[in-house]
C-alpha cells in the first residue's frame, strides 16, 4: 500500500537520533576515567583494553552520525536550521574523536605521567566529562523544546543549562592552567619529547570541554531563531 499524502509529509525527526548520538558519545568518553586510572598505575593490559573499548564506542557513535546525516535531505522543513543541527552533530562527534585520539596517543607511546600531577590529571579528565555530560543534558531537552515550539519556560531552562555548561568549561580551563603550571616546574627534569606529548595530552583534554561548550552554544543558536 502506497503511503498517502499526509503520511508522506512527515519526515523522521532528527531530534531522537541526535540525542542518541550524544548518548553514544557520552558512553565513549566516560571510559576515559578507568583508562587514565590504569595508565597512571602503568597497568597497560587494562589500559589497552580500555583504549579498544573507547575506539569501539567511537565507531558506534560514528555510525549513528552517518545515519542521521543520511536522513537529513535539504527538502526537510525543521523547527531548527539544518546547518545548526549538523554543526551540533559535528561537535558531538569531535568529542568522541578526541577521546579516541587521547587514548590512542597515550597507549601508543606508553606514556608516563609524573606522580605530582596524577591527582590533578584525574580531576581534569573528570571535569571535562562533566562538561560533556552537561551538554548531553541540554541536548536531551531538544524534544521538549520542539514540544513547546521553542518558547517560554523551556527556553529559559535550556539557557540555564548552557550557562552551567559554560561554568564547567571555565572551571576546566582553570584546572588546565594549574596542571600546566605543575608540569612547567617539573619539565626540566623530564625527557623533552615526553614533556612535549604531556602538554599535547593536556591540550586535548582541555579541548574535550571546549567542544562540549560549543555543542551548547550551537544549541543556543537554535533557540534564538
Amino acid at each position: 500500500m502506497a503511503r498517502t499524502t499526509i503520511s508522506s509529509m512527515f519526515g523522521s525527526s532528527p531530534v531522537k537520533p541526535l540525542q542518541q548520538h550524544m548518548a553514544g558519545v557520552q558512553e565513549c568518553i566516560v571510559e576515559l576515567v578507568p583508562f587514565f586510572e590504569a595508565v597512571l598505575e602503568q597497568d597497560w593490559k587494562t589500559a589497552k583494553a580500555q583504549q579498544k573499548k573507547i575506539a569501539r564506542l567511537e565507531g558506534a557513535a560514528d555510525k549513528l552520525k552517518r545515519n542521521l546525516r543520511m536522513q537529513l535531505p535539504r527538502s526537510l522543513f525543521m523547527p531548527v536550521s539544518r546547518r545548526d543541527l549538523l554543526e551540533v552533530l559535528t561537535m558531538q562527534d569531535k568529542i568522541a574523536n578526541k577521546a579516541k585520539d587521547i587514548a590512542g596517543l597515550i597507549t601508543g607511546r606508553k606514556m608516563e605521567f609524573p606522580d605530582a600531577v596524577n591527582d590533578q590529571l584525574i580531576a581534569f579528565v573528570k571535569r571535562a566529562i562533566d562538561a560533556s555530560m552537561q551538554a548531553q543534558t541540554a541536548i536531551n531537552e531538544l524534544d521538549e523544546l520542539v514540544e513547546t515550539g521553542f518558547g517560554g519556560r523551556e527556553v529559559k531552562l535550556v539557557q540555564s543549562m548552557i550557562k552551567e555548561l559554560d561554568l564547567i568549561e571555565s572551571d576546566n580551563d582553570k584546572l588546565e592552567v594549574k596542571i600546566r603550571g605543575a608540569l612547567f616546574k617539573l619539565e626540566n627534569d623530564l625527557p623533552p619529547v615526553q614533556v612535549m606529548f604531556l602538554y599535547r595530552v593536556i591540550d586535548w583534554i582541555g579541548e574535550l570541554a571546549d567542544l562540549s561548550q560549543r555543542v551548547g552554544s550551537r544549541l543556543e543558536l537554535m533557540l534564538a531563531r
Partner: protein, 418 residues
C-alpha cells in the same frame, strides 16, 4: 427518454464506486492523524469515521453536492438535450474513478475533488461547448483550492501558538491543559454545529432562524465540553510518565480533545467529499426523475446522500482500516497537542467550504494545517517535497480528468445517442 433505468443503475454503480474509493483512501488522511498521535486506536478510528462521515455526508453534504450537480454546468443550454447532461455526468464519474485508481496505484497525491471538477469542466467545455461551463463559478472553486490550505495553515498556526502561550509554556502545563482544553472542545463542537445548522438541514425539514442556530450550536458545544470535562477529570497526573518526556501527562489531556476533533474531521470530510461521488449521481437522477426535463428546481433526494454515505462507510470498513494503519505508523511525530490543531483547523476550513458549497480537497487542507503547525516550530521534520508534488498533481489531474471524461462522454453519446 430511453434507457432510463440503465442510466440510473449506471449512475448509482459509478457513484457508489467513487464513494467506496473515497472511503477506502481519502478517509485515511483525515483519520490517520488521530491514530498516529496515539489518541485513538484503529478500531475507534473506524467507528468514529463511519458514524461521522455518514452524518457529515447526510446532514451537511447538500451544498457541495448542489455545486457539483448544477453549479458548474449551465444546464439551461441543455434543456432540449437532457441526455447530454446524463452522458456527461456518467462520463465524469467514470473518468474520475479510473483516474483515481491509476493515481493511487502510483501513489500520486491527487485529490478526488480536483479530479471530478476537472472531469465535469472537461465534458462540458468540449462535449457541449465553452458556454456551457459557468467559468465564474469554476474560477471561484479553483481559488478556493488555493485559499483553503492557506486558511487552514493560518488557523492551525494560531491555534498551536495559543496552546504554547496558554498551556505548554506555563510552569504547570498539566494544570493549564486541564483548564483550557475544554475551551477548545467547546469551540470544536460549536463551529461544526453552527455551520451545519446554517447551511445543511433544510433537506431533512429543519429550518432555523440565526438565533436558534446559534443557541443550538452553543448547546452542542456545551454538551460536548461537559463530556470532555468528565473524561479529562479522570486523567490523573502520573509522575513516572514525565521522566523521559516532560509533557507526557499534558499530551494525555490533549488526547481527549483529539478524539473530539477527529469526529469533527470525519464530519467535515463527509460533508465535502461525499459530493464528489454523488453530485453527478444526483444530476442524473434529477433528469431521469423529471422525465427528461432539466430540473433546476428539484430538491436533492435524500436517498442519494444516503447512497454516498453508505458507499464511504463500506469502503472504510473494507479497506480503510489498512490504510489508516499505514498512515498512523508514519506520523508518530504528531502529538495530540499538534494533531488537534491540524484537525480543528482543517475541519473548520472544510466545513466552512461545505457551507458555502465549495468543493475543496480535505487532504490538501490538512496538508496546509500541518504546515501551519510546522511554521510554529512544532514538528520535528516535514517533507516539503510533498507540497511540490501536490502542486504538480494539480497540473496533471485537471487535464487528465478532463480528457478521460471527454473520451467517455463521446463513448456514451455513441452508445446511447445513436
Amino acid at each position: 427518454m430511453e434507457f432510463e433505468i440503465t442510466f440510473l443503475v449506471m449512475a448509482c454503480i459509478f457513484g457508489l464506486f467513487m464513494a467506496w474509493g473515497i472511503g477506502a483512501n481519502d478517509v485515511a488522511n483525515a483519520m490517520g492523524t488521530s491514530v498516529g498521535s496515539g489518541a485513538i486506536t484503529i478500531k475507534q478510528a473506524v467507528i468514529i469515521a463511519a458514524i461521522f462521515e455518514f452524518a457529515g455526508a447526510y446532514l451537511a453534504g447538500g451544498q457541495v453536492t448542489k455545486t457539483i450537480r448544477k453549479g458548474i454546468v449551465d444546464a439551461n443550454l441543455l434543456s432540449g438535450t437532457p441526455d447530454l447532461l446524463i452522458y456527461g455526468m456518467l462520463a465524469a464519474l467514470l473518468a474520475a474513478g479510473i483516474w483515481l485508481l491509476v493515481a493511487s496505484r502510483f501513489g500520486w497525491p491527487v485529490s478526488t475533488t480536483h479530479t471530478i471538477v476537472g472531469a465535469i469542466v472537461g465534458f462540458a467545455a468540449v462535449g457541449i461547448g465553452m458556454d456551457a461551463v459557468k467559468w465564474a463559478k469554476v474560477g471561484s472553486i479553483v481559488m478556493s483550492w488555493v485559499v483553503s490550505p492557506a486558511l487552514a495553515g493560518i488557523i492551525s498556526y494560531w491555534l498551536f501558538r495559543s496552546v504554547q502561550k496558554f498551556i505548554l509554556n506555563k510552569d504547570d502545563p498539566f494544570k493549564y491543559a486541564k483548564r483550557y482544553v475544554p475551551v477548545y472542545i467547546f469551540f470544536t463542537g460549536f463551529i461544526l454545529a453552527l455551520v451545519t445548522l446554517f447551511k445543511g438541514l433544510k433537506h431533512i425539514g429543519l429550518e432555523l432562524s440565526p438565533v436558534e442556530s446559534y443557541s443550538i450550536a452553543i448547546l452542542v458545544g456545551l454538551i460536548v465540553m461537559t463530556i470532555g470535562i468528565y473524561f479529562i477529570s479522570k486523567i490523573k497526573h502520573d509522575p513516572n510518565a514525565d521522566k523521559d518526556f516532560h509533557f507526557a501527562n499534558v499530551e494525555k489531556v490533549f488526547a481527549v480533545l483529539m478524539v473530539v476533533t477527529a469526529c469533527g474531521m470525519a464530519f467535515a470530510h463527509g460533508s465535502n467529499d461525499v459530493a464528489n461521488a454523488i453530485g453527478p449521481v444526483a444530476a442524473v437522477v434529477s433528469v431521469v426523475e423529471s422525465g427528461g426535463e432539466i430540473g433546476q428546481k428539484s430538491a436533492l433526494p435524500s436517498w442519494v446522500l444516503l447512497l454516498g454515505g453508505g458507499g464511504i462507510v463500506a469502503g472504510l470498513l473494507m479497506y480503510g482500516r489498512r490504510v489508516i494503519t499505514t498512515v498512523g505508523k508514519h506520523i508518530t511525530e504528531l502529538t495530540p497537542s499538534r494533531g488537534f490543531a491540524c484537525e480543528l483547523a482543517a475541519a473548520t476550513t472544510v466545513v466552512l467550504a461545505s457551507g458555502t458549497g465549495l468543493p475543496i480537497s480535505t487532504t490538501h487542507t490538512l496538508v496546509g494545517a500541518v504546515l501551519g503547525v510546522g511554521m510554529a516550530r512544532g514538528i520535528g521534520a516535514l517533507n516539503l517535497n510533498v507540497v511540490r508534488t501536490i502542486f504538480l498533481s494539480w497540473i496533471v489531474t485537471l487535464p487528465a480528468g478532463a480528457i478521460l471524461s471527454i473520451l467517455f462522454f463521446f463513448m456514451f453519446k455513441g452508445m446511447f445517442g445513436g
